[in-house]
Point group: D3
Chain length 104, copies 6
Protein backbone atom coordinates (compact mmCIF):
# COMPACT_ATOMS: atom_id res chain seq x y z
CA UNK A 1 0.00 0.00 0.00
CA UNK A 2 2.84 2.38 0.73
CA UNK A 3 3.89 1.92 -2.86
CA UNK A 4 0.60 3.38 -4.07
CA UNK A 5 1.33 6.54 -2.12
CA UNK A 6 5.04 6.66 -2.90
CA UNK A 7 4.65 6.19 -6.66
CA UNK A 8 2.54 9.36 -6.68
CA UNK A 9 5.64 11.10 -5.55
CA UNK A 10 4.22 13.72 -3.21
CA UNK A 11 7.20 15.47 -1.65
CA UNK A 12 5.53 16.49 1.59
CA UNK A 13 4.39 12.93 2.27
CA UNK A 14 7.84 11.50 1.54
CA UNK A 15 9.58 13.97 3.81
CA UNK A 16 7.08 13.45 6.61
CA UNK A 17 7.75 9.73 6.48
CA UNK A 18 11.50 10.22 6.58
CA UNK A 19 11.08 12.56 9.49
CA UNK A 20 8.87 10.01 11.24
CA UNK A 21 11.73 7.50 11.04
CA UNK A 22 14.28 10.03 12.35
CA UNK A 23 12.07 10.85 15.32
CA UNK A 24 12.56 7.41 16.88
CA UNK A 25 16.34 7.30 16.36
CA UNK A 26 18.63 6.99 19.38
CA UNK A 27 19.32 10.46 20.81
CA UNK A 28 19.16 12.06 24.24
CA UNK A 29 16.53 9.37 24.86
CA UNK A 30 17.18 5.76 23.91
CA UNK A 31 15.11 3.91 21.31
CA UNK A 32 13.22 1.92 23.95
CA UNK A 33 11.90 5.06 25.61
CA UNK A 34 11.02 6.64 22.28
CA UNK A 35 9.06 3.60 21.12
CA UNK A 36 7.13 3.60 24.39
CA UNK A 37 6.39 7.31 23.82
CA UNK A 38 5.14 6.44 20.32
CA UNK A 39 3.04 3.60 21.75
CA UNK A 40 1.32 5.62 24.47
CA UNK A 41 0.59 8.47 22.01
CA UNK A 42 -0.96 6.03 19.56
CA UNK A 43 -3.09 4.57 22.34
CA UNK A 44 -4.54 7.82 23.64
CA UNK A 45 -5.21 8.87 20.03
CA UNK A 46 -6.76 5.45 19.47
CA UNK A 47 -4.99 4.45 16.26
CA UNK A 48 -4.90 0.62 16.11
CA UNK A 49 -2.48 0.42 13.17
CA UNK A 50 -0.08 2.81 14.91
CA UNK A 51 -0.34 0.79 18.15
CA UNK A 52 0.57 -2.41 16.32
CA UNK A 53 3.52 -0.74 14.66
CA UNK A 54 4.98 0.49 17.96
CA UNK A 55 4.24 -2.81 19.75
CA UNK A 56 6.28 -4.57 17.06
CA UNK A 57 9.17 -2.17 17.64
CA UNK A 58 8.88 -2.53 21.45
CA UNK A 59 9.06 -6.28 21.02
CA UNK A 60 12.16 -6.09 18.83
CA UNK A 61 13.82 -3.88 21.47
CA UNK A 62 13.18 -6.39 24.24
CA UNK A 63 10.66 -4.37 26.22
CA UNK A 64 9.01 -6.70 28.74
CA UNK A 65 5.34 -7.53 29.18
CA UNK A 66 5.30 -5.80 32.59
CA UNK A 67 6.71 -2.65 30.98
CA UNK A 68 4.21 -2.74 28.12
CA UNK A 69 1.35 -3.07 30.60
CA UNK A 70 2.55 0.02 32.45
CA UNK A 71 2.43 1.91 29.16
CA UNK A 72 -1.12 0.55 28.74
CA UNK A 73 -2.04 1.78 32.22
CA UNK A 74 -0.82 5.34 31.55
CA UNK A 75 -2.78 5.36 28.27
CA UNK A 76 -5.97 4.17 29.98
CA UNK A 77 -5.75 6.64 32.87
CA UNK A 78 -4.95 9.62 30.66
CA UNK A 79 -7.33 8.68 27.83
CA UNK A 80 -10.16 7.02 29.82
CA UNK A 81 -12.25 3.93 29.22
CA UNK A 82 -12.62 4.62 25.48
CA UNK A 83 -9.03 3.36 25.29
CA UNK A 84 -10.09 -0.06 26.65
CA UNK A 85 -11.16 -1.62 23.31
CA UNK A 86 -7.83 -0.58 21.80
CA UNK A 87 -6.00 -1.98 24.85
CA UNK A 88 -7.77 -5.30 24.34
CA UNK A 89 -6.59 -5.49 20.75
CA UNK A 90 -3.11 -4.35 21.81
CA UNK A 91 -2.88 -7.02 24.50
CA UNK A 92 -3.99 -9.66 22.01
CA UNK A 93 -1.38 -8.55 19.48
CA UNK A 94 1.36 -8.45 22.13
CA UNK A 95 0.38 -11.97 23.22
CA UNK A 96 0.78 -13.10 19.60
CA UNK A 97 4.21 -11.43 19.32
CA UNK A 98 5.37 -13.12 22.55
CA UNK A 99 3.92 -16.46 21.42
CA UNK A 100 5.79 -16.36 18.11
CA UNK A 101 9.01 -15.49 19.92
CA UNK A 102 8.51 -18.39 22.38
CA UNK A 103 8.06 -20.85 19.50
CA UNK A 104 11.31 -19.92 17.85
CA UNK B 1 -9.73 -11.07 25.61
CA UNK B 2 -10.24 -9.50 29.02
CA UNK B 3 -8.57 -12.56 30.46
CA UNK B 4 -5.37 -11.78 28.56
CA UNK B 5 -5.24 -8.38 30.23
CA UNK B 6 -6.39 -9.57 33.65
CA UNK B 7 -3.93 -12.46 33.88
CA UNK B 8 -1.12 -9.92 33.53
CA UNK B 9 -2.35 -8.53 36.77
CA UNK B 10 -1.78 -4.82 36.25
CA UNK B 11 -3.24 -3.11 39.30
CA UNK B 12 -4.08 0.20 37.63
CA UNK B 13 -6.02 -1.55 34.85
CA UNK B 14 -7.97 -3.69 37.34
CA UNK B 15 -8.92 -0.72 39.50
CA UNK B 16 -9.93 1.37 36.49
CA UNK B 17 -12.26 -1.40 35.39
CA UNK B 18 -13.82 -1.72 38.84
CA UNK B 19 -14.27 2.01 38.92
CA UNK B 20 -15.86 1.92 35.48
CA UNK B 21 -18.49 -0.48 36.82
CA UNK B 22 -19.15 1.69 39.91
CA UNK B 23 -19.66 4.76 37.74
CA UNK B 24 -22.89 3.43 36.25
CA UNK B 25 -24.41 2.25 39.57
CA UNK B 26 -27.69 3.73 40.75
CA UNK B 27 -26.99 6.98 42.64
CA UNK B 28 -28.35 10.51 42.52
CA UNK B 29 -29.06 9.62 38.88
CA UNK B 30 -30.76 6.36 37.98
CA UNK B 31 -29.09 3.65 35.88
CA UNK B 32 -31.11 4.53 32.79
CA UNK B 33 -29.83 8.10 32.74
CA UNK B 34 -26.27 6.99 33.42
CA UNK B 35 -26.28 4.49 30.58
CA UNK B 36 -27.56 7.16 28.22
CA UNK B 37 -24.74 9.44 29.41
CA UNK B 38 -22.28 6.62 28.68
CA UNK B 39 -23.86 6.09 25.26
CA UNK B 40 -23.75 9.72 24.14
CA UNK B 41 -20.13 10.07 25.35
CA UNK B 42 -19.12 6.98 23.41
CA UNK B 43 -20.82 8.34 20.31
CA UNK B 44 -19.18 11.77 20.28
CA UNK B 45 -15.82 10.07 20.96
CA UNK B 46 -16.65 7.63 18.16
CA UNK B 47 -15.89 4.35 19.90
CA UNK B 48 -17.99 1.61 18.24
CA UNK B 49 -17.26 -1.05 20.85
CA UNK B 50 -18.21 1.34 23.67
CA UNK B 51 -21.41 2.30 21.81
CA UNK B 52 -22.43 -1.36 21.51
CA UNK B 53 -21.75 -1.96 25.18
CA UNK B 54 -23.97 0.92 26.28
CA UNK B 55 -26.70 0.08 23.74
CA UNK B 56 -26.83 -3.41 25.26
CA UNK B 57 -27.23 -1.92 28.75
CA UNK B 58 -29.86 0.57 27.51
CA UNK B 59 -31.79 -2.32 26.02
CA UNK B 60 -31.68 -4.32 29.25
CA UNK B 61 -32.99 -1.30 31.15
CA UNK B 62 -35.99 -0.93 28.83
CA UNK B 63 -34.99 2.32 27.18
CA UNK B 64 -37.25 2.82 24.15
CA UNK B 65 -36.29 3.30 20.51
CA UNK B 66 -37.58 6.88 20.56
CA UNK B 67 -35.37 7.64 23.56
CA UNK B 68 -32.31 6.03 21.99
CA UNK B 69 -32.82 8.11 18.84
CA UNK B 70 -32.90 11.28 20.90
CA UNK B 71 -29.53 10.29 22.38
CA UNK B 72 -28.35 9.74 18.78
CA UNK B 73 -29.56 13.22 17.82
CA UNK B 74 -27.68 14.94 20.66
CA UNK B 75 -24.53 13.02 19.68
CA UNK B 76 -24.86 14.03 16.02
CA UNK B 77 -25.51 17.71 16.74
CA UNK B 78 -22.71 18.04 19.27
CA UNK B 79 -20.20 15.86 17.39
CA UNK B 80 -21.15 16.67 13.78
CA UNK B 81 -21.50 14.56 10.66
CA UNK B 82 -18.43 12.47 11.46
CA UNK B 83 -20.70 10.77 14.02
CA UNK B 84 -23.05 9.60 11.23
CA UNK B 85 -21.19 6.38 10.28
CA UNK B 86 -21.13 5.38 13.96
CA UNK B 87 -24.84 6.22 14.23
CA UNK B 88 -25.55 3.94 11.29
CA UNK B 89 -23.79 1.04 12.98
CA UNK B 90 -25.48 1.89 16.28
CA UNK B 91 -28.94 1.92 14.66
CA UNK B 92 -28.24 -1.41 13.03
CA UNK B 93 -27.12 -2.94 16.32
CA UNK B 94 -30.15 -1.53 18.16
CA UNK B 95 -32.41 -2.98 15.45
CA UNK B 96 -30.79 -6.38 16.05
CA UNK B 97 -31.27 -6.12 19.84
CA UNK B 98 -34.96 -5.22 19.37
CA UNK B 99 -35.40 -8.01 16.81
CA UNK B 100 -33.97 -10.62 19.19
CA UNK B 101 -36.23 -9.37 21.97
CA UNK B 102 -39.29 -9.53 19.69
CA UNK B 103 -38.54 -13.15 18.80
CA UNK B 104 -38.46 -14.29 22.40
CA UNK C 1 -20.34 37.96 18.94
CA UNK C 2 -23.18 35.91 17.56
CA UNK C 3 -24.31 39.06 15.77
CA UNK C 4 -21.05 39.14 13.82
CA UNK C 5 -21.77 35.66 12.50
CA UNK C 6 -25.49 36.20 11.97
CA UNK C 7 -25.15 39.46 10.07
CA UNK C 8 -23.04 37.58 7.51
CA UNK C 9 -26.13 35.61 6.86
CA UNK C 10 -24.70 32.16 6.17
CA UNK C 11 -27.67 29.86 5.76
CA UNK C 12 -25.96 26.66 6.89
CA UNK C 13 -24.78 28.29 10.13
CA UNK C 14 -28.25 29.70 10.87
CA UNK C 15 -29.97 26.39 10.28
CA UNK C 16 -27.42 24.50 12.36
CA UNK C 17 -28.08 26.85 15.27
CA UNK C 18 -31.85 26.45 14.98
CA UNK C 19 -31.37 22.70 14.88
CA UNK C 20 -29.12 22.89 17.93
CA UNK C 21 -31.97 24.54 19.86
CA UNK C 22 -34.53 21.95 18.68
CA UNK C 23 -32.28 19.10 19.80
CA UNK C 24 -32.73 19.92 23.48
CA UNK C 25 -36.53 20.38 23.32
CA UNK C 26 -38.76 18.15 25.42
CA UNK C 27 -39.43 14.92 23.52
CA UNK C 28 -39.26 11.22 24.34
CA UNK C 29 -36.59 12.37 26.82
CA UNK C 30 -37.24 15.31 29.12
CA UNK C 31 -35.20 18.52 29.01
CA UNK C 32 -33.26 17.64 32.15
CA UNK C 33 -31.92 14.43 30.65
CA UNK C 34 -31.11 16.13 27.36
CA UNK C 35 -29.16 18.91 29.04
CA UNK C 36 -27.16 16.32 30.99
CA UNK C 37 -26.46 14.53 27.69
CA UNK C 38 -25.25 17.84 26.25
CA UNK C 39 -23.12 18.45 29.33
CA UNK C 40 -21.39 15.07 29.35
CA UNK C 41 -20.71 15.30 25.58
CA UNK C 42 -19.17 18.75 26.02
CA UNK C 43 -16.99 17.44 28.83
CA UNK C 44 -15.54 14.44 27.02
CA UNK C 45 -14.93 16.68 23.98
CA UNK C 46 -13.37 19.22 26.34
CA UNK C 47 -15.18 22.36 25.22
CA UNK C 48 -15.25 24.80 28.18
CA UNK C 49 -17.70 27.23 26.59
CA UNK C 50 -20.10 24.38 25.76
CA UNK C 51 -19.77 23.02 29.34
CA UNK C 52 -20.70 26.41 30.79
CA UNK C 53 -23.68 26.71 28.49
CA UNK C 54 -25.10 23.33 29.54
CA UNK C 55 -24.30 23.91 33.24
CA UNK C 56 -26.37 27.10 33.03
CA UNK C 57 -29.27 25.17 31.51
CA UNK C 58 -28.92 22.36 34.10
CA UNK C 59 -29.07 24.97 36.84
CA UNK C 60 -32.23 26.55 35.39
CA UNK C 61 -33.87 23.13 35.27
CA UNK C 62 -33.16 22.45 38.95
CA UNK C 63 -30.63 19.67 38.49
CA UNK C 64 -28.93 19.09 41.87
CA UNK C 65 -25.24 19.26 42.74
CA UNK C 66 -25.17 15.51 43.43
CA UNK C 67 -26.62 14.86 39.96
CA UNK C 68 -24.17 17.22 38.26
CA UNK C 69 -21.26 15.46 39.97
CA UNK C 70 -22.46 12.12 38.67
CA UNK C 71 -22.39 13.57 35.17
CA UNK C 72 -18.84 14.76 35.94
CA UNK C 73 -17.87 11.26 37.06
CA UNK C 74 -19.13 9.63 33.83
CA UNK C 75 -17.22 12.23 31.80
CA UNK C 76 -13.99 11.61 33.74
CA UNK C 77 -14.18 7.83 33.54
CA UNK C 78 -15.03 7.76 29.83
CA UNK C 79 -12.68 10.59 28.83
CA UNK C 80 -9.84 10.05 31.32
CA UNK C 81 -7.72 12.40 33.39
CA UNK C 82 -7.42 14.96 30.56
CA UNK C 83 -11.01 15.85 31.49
CA UNK C 84 -9.89 16.87 35.03
CA UNK C 85 -8.86 20.47 34.23
CA UNK C 86 -12.22 21.02 32.53
CA UNK C 87 -13.99 19.44 35.51
CA UNK C 88 -12.22 21.86 37.84
CA UNK C 89 -13.44 24.83 35.84
CA UNK C 90 -16.92 23.27 35.59
CA UNK C 91 -17.09 22.75 39.38
CA UNK C 92 -16.01 26.34 39.96
CA UNK C 93 -18.67 27.64 37.56
CA UNK C 94 -21.36 25.45 39.12
CA UNK C 95 -20.34 26.75 42.58
CA UNK C 96 -20.79 30.29 41.28
CA UNK C 97 -24.23 29.49 39.83
CA UNK C 98 -25.34 27.94 43.15
CA UNK C 99 -23.89 30.88 45.10
CA UNK C 100 -25.81 33.42 43.02
CA UNK C 101 -29.00 31.44 43.47
CA UNK C 102 -28.48 31.25 47.26
CA UNK C 103 -28.06 35.01 47.47
CA UNK C 104 -31.37 35.74 45.77
CA UNK D 1 -28.75 1.24 6.67
CA UNK D 2 -29.90 4.81 6.25
CA UNK D 3 -33.43 3.44 5.96
CA UNK D 4 -33.20 2.02 9.48
CA UNK D 5 -32.47 5.50 10.81
CA UNK D 6 -34.92 7.31 8.53
CA UNK D 7 -37.87 5.03 9.25
CA UNK D 8 -37.51 5.98 12.93
CA UNK D 9 -38.31 9.45 11.81
CA UNK D 10 -36.14 11.51 14.14
CA UNK D 11 -36.56 15.12 13.03
CA UNK D 12 -33.16 16.36 14.19
CA UNK D 13 -31.35 13.59 12.30
CA UNK D 14 -33.34 14.26 9.10
CA UNK D 15 -32.67 17.97 9.21
CA UNK D 16 -28.99 17.48 9.94
CA UNK D 17 -28.71 15.29 6.87
CA UNK D 18 -30.47 17.79 4.66
CA UNK D 19 -28.22 20.50 5.99
CA UNK D 20 -25.19 18.30 5.31
CA UNK D 21 -26.22 18.12 1.65
CA UNK D 22 -26.77 21.90 1.42
CA UNK D 23 -23.32 22.58 2.87
CA UNK D 24 -21.55 21.24 -0.21
CA UNK D 25 -23.75 23.07 -2.76
CA UNK D 26 -22.18 25.55 -5.15
CA UNK D 27 -21.92 28.97 -3.45
CA UNK D 28 -19.20 31.56 -2.96
CA UNK D 29 -16.92 28.52 -3.21
CA UNK D 30 -17.35 25.99 -5.99
CA UNK D 31 -18.25 22.34 -5.37
CA UNK D 32 -14.71 21.15 -6.03
CA UNK D 33 -13.26 23.30 -3.27
CA UNK D 34 -16.02 22.33 -0.87
CA UNK D 35 -15.52 18.62 -1.44
CA UNK D 36 -11.80 19.04 -0.81
CA UNK D 37 -12.66 20.87 2.42
CA UNK D 38 -14.90 17.96 3.40
CA UNK D 39 -12.14 15.50 2.52
CA UNK D 40 -9.39 17.16 4.53
CA UNK D 41 -11.71 17.56 7.55
CA UNK D 42 -12.63 13.87 7.39
CA UNK D 43 -8.95 12.95 7.21
CA UNK D 44 -7.77 14.96 10.22
CA UNK D 45 -10.76 13.62 12.18
CA UNK D 46 -9.88 10.15 10.93
CA UNK D 47 -13.27 8.99 9.70
CA UNK D 48 -12.70 6.36 6.97
CA UNK D 49 -16.32 6.24 5.81
CA UNK D 50 -16.41 10.03 5.51
CA UNK D 51 -13.11 10.01 3.59
CA UNK D 52 -14.50 7.50 1.09
CA UNK D 53 -17.64 9.54 0.63
CA UNK D 54 -15.72 12.72 -0.19
CA UNK D 55 -13.20 10.88 -2.40
CA UNK D 56 -16.14 9.60 -4.44
CA UNK D 57 -17.46 13.13 -4.84
CA UNK D 58 -13.98 14.48 -5.69
CA UNK D 59 -13.70 11.83 -8.38
CA UNK D 60 -17.09 12.73 -9.87
CA UNK D 61 -16.02 16.38 -10.00
CA UNK D 62 -12.83 15.58 -11.93
CA UNK D 63 -10.34 16.45 -9.21
CA UNK D 64 -6.94 15.08 -10.27
CA UNK D 65 -4.66 12.65 -8.48
CA UNK D 66 -2.06 15.39 -7.93
CA UNK D 67 -4.71 17.58 -6.32
CA UNK D 68 -6.00 14.78 -4.09
CA UNK D 69 -2.44 14.09 -2.90
CA UNK D 70 -2.01 17.72 -1.94
CA UNK D 71 -5.14 17.43 0.17
CA UNK D 72 -3.58 14.29 1.71
CA UNK D 73 -0.39 16.21 2.48
CA UNK D 74 -2.23 19.02 4.29
CA UNK D 75 -4.14 16.42 6.33
CA UNK D 76 -0.93 14.59 7.28
CA UNK D 77 0.96 17.74 8.27
CA UNK D 78 -1.89 19.20 10.31
CA UNK D 79 -3.02 15.90 11.85
CA UNK D 80 0.32 14.08 12.16
CA UNK D 81 1.40 10.52 11.54
CA UNK D 82 -1.78 9.06 13.05
CA UNK D 83 -3.40 10.14 9.77
CA UNK D 84 -1.06 7.83 7.80
CA UNK D 85 -3.13 4.61 8.11
CA UNK D 86 -6.20 6.51 6.91
CA UNK D 87 -4.16 8.00 4.04
CA UNK D 88 -3.13 4.50 3.00
CA UNK D 89 -6.73 3.37 2.82
CA UNK D 90 -7.68 6.63 1.06
CA UNK D 91 -4.94 6.16 -1.56
CA UNK D 92 -6.07 2.60 -2.16
CA UNK D 93 -9.69 3.67 -2.59
CA UNK D 94 -8.72 6.50 -4.93
CA UNK D 95 -6.64 4.05 -6.98
CA UNK D 96 -9.73 1.84 -7.30
CA UNK D 97 -11.91 4.78 -8.38
CA UNK D 98 -9.35 5.77 -11.02
CA UNK D 99 -9.01 2.15 -12.18
CA UNK D 100 -12.76 1.78 -12.65
CA UNK D 101 -12.89 5.02 -14.61
CA UNK D 102 -9.99 3.90 -16.84
CA UNK D 103 -11.81 0.65 -17.68
CA UNK D 104 -14.97 2.38 -18.86
CA UNK E 1 8.50 32.10 21.61
CA UNK E 2 9.63 30.27 18.51
CA UNK E 3 13.14 31.35 19.39
CA UNK E 4 12.97 29.41 22.65
CA UNK E 5 12.23 26.26 20.71
CA UNK E 6 14.63 26.98 17.85
CA UNK E 7 17.62 27.80 20.07
CA UNK E 8 17.30 24.30 21.55
CA UNK E 9 18.08 23.09 18.10
CA UNK E 10 15.92 19.98 17.89
CA UNK E 11 16.28 18.69 14.34
CA UNK E 12 12.90 16.97 14.10
CA UNK E 13 11.09 20.13 15.18
CA UNK E 14 13.01 22.28 12.70
CA UNK E 15 12.34 19.97 9.81
CA UNK E 16 8.68 19.64 10.69
CA UNK E 17 8.34 23.41 10.60
CA UNK E 18 10.08 23.67 7.24
CA UNK E 19 7.83 20.96 5.92
CA UNK E 20 4.80 22.79 7.31
CA UNK E 21 5.78 25.83 5.22
CA UNK E 22 6.31 23.73 2.06
CA UNK E 23 2.88 22.14 2.45
CA UNK E 24 1.07 25.39 1.67
CA UNK E 25 3.22 26.32 -1.35
CA UNK E 26 1.59 26.72 -4.75
CA UNK E 27 1.36 23.31 -6.44
CA UNK E 28 -1.37 21.33 -8.17
CA UNK E 29 -3.65 23.35 -5.87
CA UNK E 30 -3.24 27.10 -5.54
CA UNK E 31 -2.31 28.80 -2.26
CA UNK E 32 -5.84 30.04 -1.67
CA UNK E 33 -7.28 26.54 -1.71
CA UNK E 34 -4.47 25.22 0.49
CA UNK E 35 -4.96 27.92 3.10
CA UNK E 36 -8.69 27.15 3.19
CA UNK E 37 -7.79 23.46 3.67
CA UNK E 38 -5.51 24.47 6.55
CA UNK E 39 -8.26 26.64 8.02
CA UNK E 40 -11.01 24.02 7.94
CA UNK E 41 -8.64 21.39 9.43
CA UNK E 42 -7.71 23.74 12.26
CA UNK E 43 -11.38 24.43 12.93
CA UNK E 44 -12.54 20.82 13.16
CA UNK E 45 -9.51 20.07 15.37
CA UNK E 46 -10.41 23.17 17.38
CA UNK E 47 -7.01 24.87 17.53
CA UNK E 48 -7.60 28.63 17.98
CA UNK E 49 -3.98 29.65 17.33
CA UNK E 50 -3.91 27.60 14.12
CA UNK E 51 -7.24 29.11 13.02
CA UNK E 52 -5.87 32.64 13.49
CA UNK E 53 -2.75 31.80 11.55
CA UNK E 54 -4.69 30.50 8.54
CA UNK E 55 -7.24 33.36 8.70
CA UNK E 56 -4.32 35.78 8.45
CA UNK E 57 -3.03 33.95 5.39
CA UNK E 58 -6.53 33.80 3.83
CA UNK E 59 -6.82 37.54 4.32
CA UNK E 60 -3.47 38.21 2.66
CA UNK E 61 -4.56 36.10 -0.31
CA UNK E 62 -7.76 38.09 -0.79
CA UNK E 63 -10.23 35.41 0.19
CA UNK E 64 -13.63 37.05 0.68
CA UNK E 65 -15.86 37.07 3.74
CA UNK E 66 -18.48 34.99 1.92
CA UNK E 67 -15.82 32.38 1.11
CA UNK E 68 -14.49 32.31 4.67
CA UNK E 69 -18.02 31.76 5.99
CA UNK E 70 -18.48 28.79 3.68
CA UNK E 71 -15.30 27.30 5.15
CA UNK E 72 -16.82 27.96 8.61
CA UNK E 73 -20.01 26.18 7.58
CA UNK E 74 -18.17 23.04 6.41
CA UNK E 75 -16.23 23.01 9.70
CA UNK E 76 -19.39 23.33 11.77
CA UNK E 77 -21.32 20.64 9.89
CA UNK E 78 -18.45 18.14 9.92
CA UNK E 79 -17.28 18.91 13.46
CA UNK E 80 -20.60 19.73 15.14
CA UNK E 81 -21.66 22.38 17.62
CA UNK E 82 -18.45 22.08 19.65
CA UNK E 83 -16.89 24.05 16.78
CA UNK E 84 -19.23 27.01 17.46
CA UNK E 85 -17.14 28.71 20.19
CA UNK E 86 -14.10 28.53 17.90
CA UNK E 87 -16.19 29.92 15.02
CA UNK E 88 -17.20 32.86 17.20
CA UNK E 89 -13.58 33.69 17.93
CA UNK E 90 -12.69 33.14 14.27
CA UNK E 91 -15.45 35.49 13.07
CA UNK E 92 -14.31 38.14 15.56
CA UNK E 93 -10.71 37.85 14.39
CA UNK E 94 -11.74 37.99 10.72
CA UNK E 95 -13.83 41.10 11.47
CA UNK E 96 -10.73 42.71 12.99
CA UNK E 97 -8.58 41.80 9.97
CA UNK E 98 -11.18 43.29 7.60
CA UNK E 99 -11.51 46.38 9.78
CA UNK E 100 -7.78 47.03 9.77
CA UNK E 101 -7.68 46.62 6.01
CA UNK E 102 -10.61 49.06 5.57
CA UNK E 103 -8.81 51.70 7.65
CA UNK E 104 -5.73 51.63 5.53
CA UNK F 1 -10.14 24.37 43.20
CA UNK F 2 -9.66 20.71 43.98
CA UNK F 3 -11.32 21.40 47.31
CA UNK F 4 -14.53 22.41 45.56
CA UNK F 5 -14.67 19.03 43.88
CA UNK F 6 -13.47 17.04 46.89
CA UNK F 7 -15.90 18.59 49.35
CA UNK F 8 -18.72 17.30 47.16
CA UNK F 9 -17.42 13.90 47.99
CA UNK F 10 -18.03 12.05 44.75
CA UNK F 11 -16.54 8.59 45.23
CA UNK F 12 -15.74 7.91 41.56
CA UNK F 13 -13.83 11.18 41.24
CA UNK F 14 -11.84 10.53 44.42
CA UNK F 15 -10.88 7.03 43.37
CA UNK F 16 -9.94 8.15 39.88
CA UNK F 17 -7.58 10.73 41.37
CA UNK F 18 -5.97 8.19 43.69
CA UNK F 19 -5.56 5.86 40.77
CA UNK F 20 -4.03 8.66 38.72
CA UNK F 21 -1.35 9.07 41.41
CA UNK F 22 -0.66 5.32 41.56
CA UNK F 23 -0.21 5.18 37.79
CA UNK F 24 3.01 7.19 37.90
CA UNK F 25 4.57 5.27 40.82
CA UNK F 26 7.87 3.47 40.31
CA UNK F 27 7.18 0.00 38.89
CA UNK F 28 8.51 -2.04 35.98
CA UNK F 29 9.17 1.40 34.47
CA UNK F 30 10.89 4.10 36.49
CA UNK F 31 9.20 7.39 37.39
CA UNK F 32 11.16 9.34 34.80
CA UNK F 33 9.87 7.21 31.93
CA UNK F 34 6.32 7.32 33.29
CA UNK F 35 6.31 11.09 33.56
CA UNK F 36 7.56 11.36 29.98
CA UNK F 37 4.72 9.01 28.94
CA UNK F 38 2.27 11.28 30.77
CA UNK F 39 3.80 14.33 29.09
CA UNK F 40 3.65 13.02 25.54
CA UNK F 41 0.05 11.82 26.03
CA UNK F 42 -0.96 15.24 27.34
CA UNK F 43 0.69 16.88 24.35
CA UNK F 44 -0.97 14.81 21.63
CA UNK F 45 -4.31 15.28 23.43
CA UNK F 46 -3.50 19.00 23.67
CA UNK F 47 -4.23 19.59 27.36
CA UNK F 48 -2.12 22.58 28.49
CA UNK F 49 -2.79 22.11 32.20
CA UNK F 50 -1.83 18.43 31.99
CA UNK F 51 1.35 19.34 30.06
CA UNK F 52 2.39 21.81 32.77
CA UNK F 53 1.76 19.26 35.49
CA UNK F 54 3.97 16.64 33.84
CA UNK F 55 6.67 19.19 32.93
CA UNK F 56 6.86 20.10 36.63
CA UNK F 57 7.29 16.44 37.54
CA UNK F 58 9.89 15.92 34.78
CA UNK F 59 11.80 18.87 36.15
CA UNK F 60 11.75 17.51 39.70
CA UNK F 61 13.06 14.18 38.41
CA UNK F 62 16.02 15.82 36.68
CA UNK F 63 14.99 15.16 33.10
CA UNK F 64 17.19 17.28 30.83
CA UNK F 65 16.19 19.90 28.26
CA UNK F 66 17.46 17.68 25.42
CA UNK F 67 15.29 14.83 26.68
CA UNK F 68 12.22 17.03 27.05
CA UNK F 69 12.67 18.27 23.48
CA UNK F 70 12.75 14.71 22.19
CA UNK F 71 9.44 14.12 23.92
CA UNK F 72 8.19 17.30 22.21
CA UNK F 73 9.37 15.97 18.84
CA UNK F 74 7.51 12.66 19.22
CA UNK F 75 4.36 14.57 20.19
CA UNK F 76 4.64 16.87 17.17
CA UNK F 77 5.27 14.08 14.67
CA UNK F 78 2.50 11.84 15.99
CA UNK F 79 -0.02 14.64 16.61
CA UNK F 80 0.87 17.03 13.78
CA UNK F 81 1.21 20.79 13.56
CA UNK F 82 -1.85 21.40 15.75
CA UNK F 83 0.47 20.41 18.62
CA UNK F 84 2.79 23.36 17.83
CA UNK F 85 0.93 26.04 19.84
CA UNK F 86 0.94 23.72 22.86
CA UNK F 87 4.64 23.03 22.31
CA UNK F 88 5.32 26.76 22.34
CA UNK F 89 3.61 27.15 25.68
CA UNK F 90 5.35 24.02 26.98
CA UNK F 91 8.78 25.32 25.93
CA UNK F 92 8.06 28.64 27.61
CA UNK F 93 7.01 26.93 30.83
CA UNK F 94 10.05 24.63 30.78
CA UNK F 95 12.29 27.69 30.27
CA UNK F 96 10.71 29.26 33.36
CA UNK F 97 11.24 26.08 35.42
CA UNK F 98 14.90 25.94 34.37
CA UNK F 99 15.32 29.65 35.06
CA UNK F 100 13.97 29.36 38.60
CA UNK F 101 16.24 26.40 39.25
CA UNK F 102 19.27 28.33 37.95
CA UNK F 103 18.53 31.21 40.31
CA UNK F 104 18.45 29.04 43.39
Amino acid sequence: MNEVILKNNNLVMKRLWNLDTNTYDEGALDKRTKEMLGLVSSMVLRCDDCIKYHLGKCHELGITTAEVYEVFSVANIVGGTIVIPHTRRAAEYWEALMGEAAEQ
